[in-house]
């Protein structure tokens, strides 16, 4: 990384002192179920304060310590869904390692400490009328609330859901329930690679007037959409991941380089992101 990168953009925090907008809370677990062999859906009760959140934002979860797992740092998780009426928020996560392994031990009635809502969510610009969602793996969780948002804005929605195998396409039905037209592709079926998807996306642009991309979950798909978007002048956004410590913007752990007017700049995924402009990602 060139030493000339300026570390963080010249932006000051946007909340005046005395009005906390990020909360640390103990939330009772309402439900916690296996969605398939790898993913679990965790639903917690949450007060109104933290439900002022947006698709694309995330929470930082304090995973419990168990005899087997001893996670230390928090783990970032996208909001999978939130319901202000029911006072609940849910996370869809893949059991990957120490932290999520420990998270998986939570039972209904247990308490989960969460910090959030954090980061900048998706922005559906007014000129974007026909969005295409392209999600893979964990990205299916992150894009789910965006699909709901599109539905509530009355936007017609097409979603390409990609996964290793058909049983890991867990939120395709949820996308459908929001009225999305869902195209599923999997490695197993051999139709999830770039060569298969690029023509499909090009076709959707031609035939369905796609004018915005939203993606999450795959560097490969991101590169493909950047390339197609640049060629067709189609904008969009991507939700990124990076190892985090604080999640709030204090530690500078989670930076990634982005293209800005004056060259490259390191931005914090937890603060300026996790949602970024598609074309700015380096």
């Amino acid at each position: 990384m060139p030493a000339s990168l300026c570390v963080i953009p010249d932006s000051a925090p946007n909340t005046p002192p005395g009005r906390p907008s990020i909360h640390e809370l103990e939330c009772p677990v309402k439900a916690h179920e296996w969605v398939n062999g790898q993913y679990r859906l965790l639903v917690v009760s949450a007060p109104r304060a933290v439900l002022d959140c947006e698709p694309g934002q995330f929470f930082h979860l304090l995973c419990p310590r168990t005899d087997r797992f001893q996670p230390y740092l928090r783990r970032p998780m996208s909001i999978y869904s939130y319901d202000r009426a029911k006072g609940e928020i849910s996370f869809l996560y893949k059991v990957a390692g120490e932290g999520t392994g420990a998270l998986a031990s939570l039972e209904t009635g247990d308490s989960l400490n969460i910090v959030g809502p954090l980061g900048q969510g998706f922005e559906i610009r007014p000129q974007w009328r026909r969005p295409l969602l392209v999600a893979r793996g964990v990205g299916l969780a992150t894009l789910a609330p965006l699909a709901q948002e599109c539905a509530s804005l009355g936007l017609p929605l097409i979603a390409i859901c990609s996964a290793r195998s058909p049983d890991l396409l867990m939120s395709a039905d949820l996308f459908r329930s929001f009225g999305a037209e869902v195209i599923t592709v999997t490695d197993k079926q051999g139709n999830s690679d770039g060569e298969s998807l690029a023509p499909m996306v090009e076709g959707l642009i031609r035939n369905r007037g796609i004018d915005a991309f939203f993606t999450c979950g795959s560097a490969r798909l991101l590169r493909m959409l950047q390339e197609i978007g640049a060629r067709h002048g189609i904008g969009g956004q991507v939700a990124l991941e990076q190892n985090m410590a604080c999640g709030i913007g204090m530690c500078q752990a989670c930076v990634r380089p982005f293209r800005r007017d004056d060259g490259a700049v390191n931005l914090r995924v937890c603060r300026e992101g996790p949602v970024f402009d598609l074309q700015e990602v380096l």
Partner: protein
């Protein structure tokens, strides 16, 4: 309400709880009212802009954290134009942590940040990332004295020397800082460490080595705090692995006049206000009227080393 004030040289802090450099920033104002803290300590800044180290910049290991953030910095100008005004809304004193490559640069930079709104300078002579193999000014009494002495003549602000646990000469370095004119010591920065992914064989930090922080560091930095508090007469500010009120008490008992909370704020961003509250309760519980009554009360007497009672 007990008297939580503590004096660090000419500064009186309303309580002994403050953040550790690099684990605190303006953004925390979105979690709680920063006015509840004894002081505000900035991330270390350098005079010019710096990008910091390659990612991954952090990893966790056995209930501790490693970081090789480096010193990404937006430079002196940004600090003066944005950071100082931001914190001027608060009455807690602002402490700016600075780093430089030579004693001379340290002095010139100290002069530059000696502006209204800045209450003290923390001299980061201990960042193990900035120089090769963890070498830093705070590794040697001579280099430490040199930096502090030049800064002393360049600014009237209190100078807090932040020491390193990586040196084998903790006491000598502490005394050198005192003699050269430091107003307080901070014990300590992170310990140079490393992690490898046993599956891939890769180092787990972009910068190969990084600094250990969190609970695993506490027994080491508590020891340094005790050693330094006995060896110097300037105030010592404890730092390393503080997360609970018991940790705070242990540092105070060991001789610290205040403490800095680092990694714990990442684990629980409300740690510091909670510690302020709990400190008040603990003092009351023990019938102590002031935090001062705890400082340096460590009991190393024979009772402690007698045969363990078993009744």
């Amino acid at each position: 309400m007990a008297d939580l004030t503590t004096r660090i040289g000419t500064l009186t802090l309303k309580n002994p709880i403050m953040p550790a450099s690099g684990t605190f920033s303006e953004e925390l104002a979105e979690v709680f009212d920063l006015n509840c803290l004894g002081a505000h300590v900035t991330k270390t800044i350098t005079r010019g802009k710096r990008a910091g180290n390659p990612v991954p910049r952090v990893c966790e290991i056995n209930g501790a954290m490693l970081n090789s953030i480096g010193i990404p910095s937006k430079g002196a100008q940004w600090f003066l134009q944005n950071t100082v005004p931001f914190y001027s809304d608060y009455d807690a004193p602002l402490v700016v942590s600075i780093s430089a490559n030579t004693a001379d640069e340290f002095a010139r930079f100290a002069e530059e940040v000696s502006v209204p709104g800045v209450a003290a300078i923390e001299v980061n002579i201990s960042c193990p990332n900035i120089e090769d193999d963890g070498k830093a000014f705070a590794m040697k009494p001579g280099a430490t004295a040199d930096v502090i002495r030049r800064m002393r003549s360049a600014t009237d602000l209190p100078l807090w020397a932040k020491l390193s646990p990586n040196t084998g000469e903790v006491v000598e370095v502490a005394q050198a800082a005192e003699v050269a004119g430091a107003d307080a010591l901070v014990t300590a920065n992170t310990m140079l460490a490393m992690a490898i992914d046993s599956t891939t064989g890769r180092v787990r930090l972009g910068n190969v080595m990084g600094g250990l922080s969190g609970p695993a560091l506490k027994p080491i930095t508590l020891r340094m705090t005790y050693q330094c508090a006995r060896a110097v007469s300037i105030p010592v500010i404890g730092c390393g692995g503080i997360a609970t009120i018991d940790d705070v008490l242990e540092y105070l008992i060991a001789g610290a006049r205040a403490v800095q909370v680092g990694t714990a704020t990442f684990i629980s961003p409300t740690t510091m206000p909670r510690l302020v509250r709990e400190l008040d309760l603990k003092l009351a519980e023990r019938g102590l009227a002031a935090v001062n009554a705890l400082i340096g009360t460590v009991d190393v007497a024979d009772e402690a080393i007698a045969i363990a009672e078993y009744a």
